[in-house]
Symmetry: C2
Subunit: 363 residues, 2 copies
């Protein structure tokens, strides 16, 4: 992908290499950050801006990160390679988009079907051992990764026709992000990967029969409701997709310890802010969509069960063939078992009680 | 509560005043932070340490925050006053402990019964308008507040006898944190406030009939399972209690813009880390407790309904009498309505599906 429109050809003033590896303290540093997302998605693109502002604020403007939406200096799906080679210092993306390089990258950001939800993924990453495991994997790509956003459980996406049984999914051309396609193809769908900016046109032209992105706020902006009436949930293929700040290793190592700490803290601010923003914005968008005629539908239980079995068959196959996958998977899945047990008590009983009160108009 | 153990009487060496209000950039700053919690609770006390280390890391040790557990320089419940007067620069606590000063302080940290859950509270605070509203309230106490931890939905606590109906709660002397007592007393309980470090002895001596703190990992350390066999959930009085970093306003305003940004980012790192740590540690503690004979029990529906009605009657009374309460309450409760609606779709359906798979040993 980069061969066709790599950053070295298109960028206005690409740095030949990251800053010299001297230790920098309080000195001027300039990074370029390329995002996989378009500027119009102020939630997910916004995380890159929150990060850049936080770094600047903490350093009195001495450490500047310029942020570039998809296609401005690097194409949406070229940001991983560009950060790896040092053509840019940092990318804001999700590692599961790059599972073609190694399926294990889908585990590094929690981007597998029936994986950890957002809170569980944050626990795994920050305090459950996920940071060290994902860093070890990303290190082989010359990258240092930081948690920089989470979507929570996504919606399942938009369909032109009602889905009553797993048979209704057969042959359906469906846009899905990242690693989801590996599971969806096993339940008969025809998954198609494309960046956010290209989905609406594909739906409108009938190149795809259905599409998902994240949730109501983004989906409304992307216009999906204008071409598909059925809005399914949950997006079982993305329960807690983490967004990643991927930093070129040489560029990161050139920073002073203070600047390294600031990068981590600024990324964590962006991480926390992104899901908070989604939650704050999604309810109103959801209500507007429903008022406009969108039909909210849960996936039938048989669809969930079929996908659950297909996903875990795939995971066992990968466990047998890819030791990097196995190392992360076994750890993450044991963590999942414990988290689901724990979240099934106080969290689940409280939330379901409040939802009941909501349905009875007592809130 | 505060009259008996105010900081001015007991603090070993209170600073006369915070640092001089000159703007400081890259200069040496020393703060003292007092926590409401004992060092043994590495989760909730740990957030203060994460914050202090992050500030030091980001400034090359030039901005040092010394951290002091409950009672070391200020008593557990004296930290609010001590930060307000400038005897210390910062406190790590939860504003709801100080509802005796103003009931509205219970809304500032999401510490009301049937309130927002952890993720919803973080959304309200960071992106939903809660930051500005709570800052306005805390400003009247000469404090600047930052989110610095969240417990998630807490467990309901430990009881010596089974709770079958609301009548079983009548006259029960129960240790509960913060604002919870205002609701529990209305359903016939006798709520008693005491710091974490004093609860076990009270249970052992029979001064209280039951007690709650946060969840399995802390509760196991506090030894509650040794004196009460029934462990109820959910802690409907604390669904998403936020911990707060409360900074003396004069001390905060004396910081450079860079140091102010670093305080915010370091607090957010601690905020995110604390709940991640609870989630990572609670499952194993839960399993140990159950293996040791603890009996996990959901509160009966009638108990939940009785408490829900009592809580909202109280809230309406406060709405009628306390304009500061009303300003935060109306905003937070409208936010709650939307959040419960939104979380009832993708999040709830995914989580409940995974819990079902867990119960069927498929995880």
């Amino acid at each position: 992908m980069l061969a066709a429109c790599g950053p070295r050809e298109q960028a206005a003033a690409p740095a030949a290499a990251p800053a010299a590896p001297a230790v920098i303290t309080g000195e001027t540093v300039r990074w370029r950050l390329a995002s996989t997302f378009p500027r119009a998605l102020d939630t997910i693109w916004g995380a890159a801006e929150v990060f850049a502002k936080a770094v600047s604020d903490a350093t009195g403007g001495k450490f500047q990160v310029s942020t570039h939406p998809a296609g401005e200096i690097v194409p949406a799906m070229g940001v991983f390679d560009a950060a790896q080679t040092g053509a840019i210092e940092a990318a804001h993306t999700a590692t599961y988009f790059f599972f073609g390089k190694d399926d294990a990258l889908a585990l590094a950001n929690g981007g597998i079907s029936f994986g950890l939800n957002g809170r569980q993924m944050t626990s795994w990453f920050f305090e459950g051992g996920g940071l060290a495991l994902s860093r070890e994997l990303l290190d082989t790509f010359n990258l240092v990764n930081f948690a920089c956003g989470n979507t929570g459980v996504q919606m399942g996406g938009w369909f032109r026709r009602e889905i009553r049984t797993p048979a209704d999914l057969q042959g359906l051309r469906f846009r899905a992000g990242g690693f989801a396609g590996r599971v969806l193809e096993r339940i008969g769908m025809v998954p198609l990967a494309m960046p956010a900016g290209e989905i609406y046109q594909a739906l409108e032209r009938g190149t795809v029969d259905g599409a998902e992105f994240v949730g109501p706020y983004d989906d409304e902006k992307l216009g999906f409701h204008r071409v598909a009436p059925f809005y399914y949930y949950p997006g079982f293929w993305e329960a807690g997709t983490q967004l990643d700040l991927l930093v070129n290793k040489t560029a990161f190592n050139a920073l002073s310890p203070e600047y390294k700490a600031i990068v981590n803290q600024a990324a964590t601010l962006a991480h926390t802010t992104m899901l908070a923003r989604y939650d704050a914005l999604n309810p109103a968008a959801l209500k507007r969509l429903v008022a406009g005629g969108t039909r909210l539908m849960p996936f039938p239980r048989a669809v969930m069960d079929t996908a659950f079995r297909a996903a875990h068959t795939l995971y066992e196959e990968l466990n047998a063939t890819n030791p990097r996958w196995k190392k992360l998977y076994d750890h993450q899945i044991a963590f999942r078992r414990d988290q689901v047990l724990w979240h099934g008590l106080a969290e689940a009983s409280f939330d379901s009680y409040m939802q009941l009160q909501g349905r009875n108009n007592r809130l």
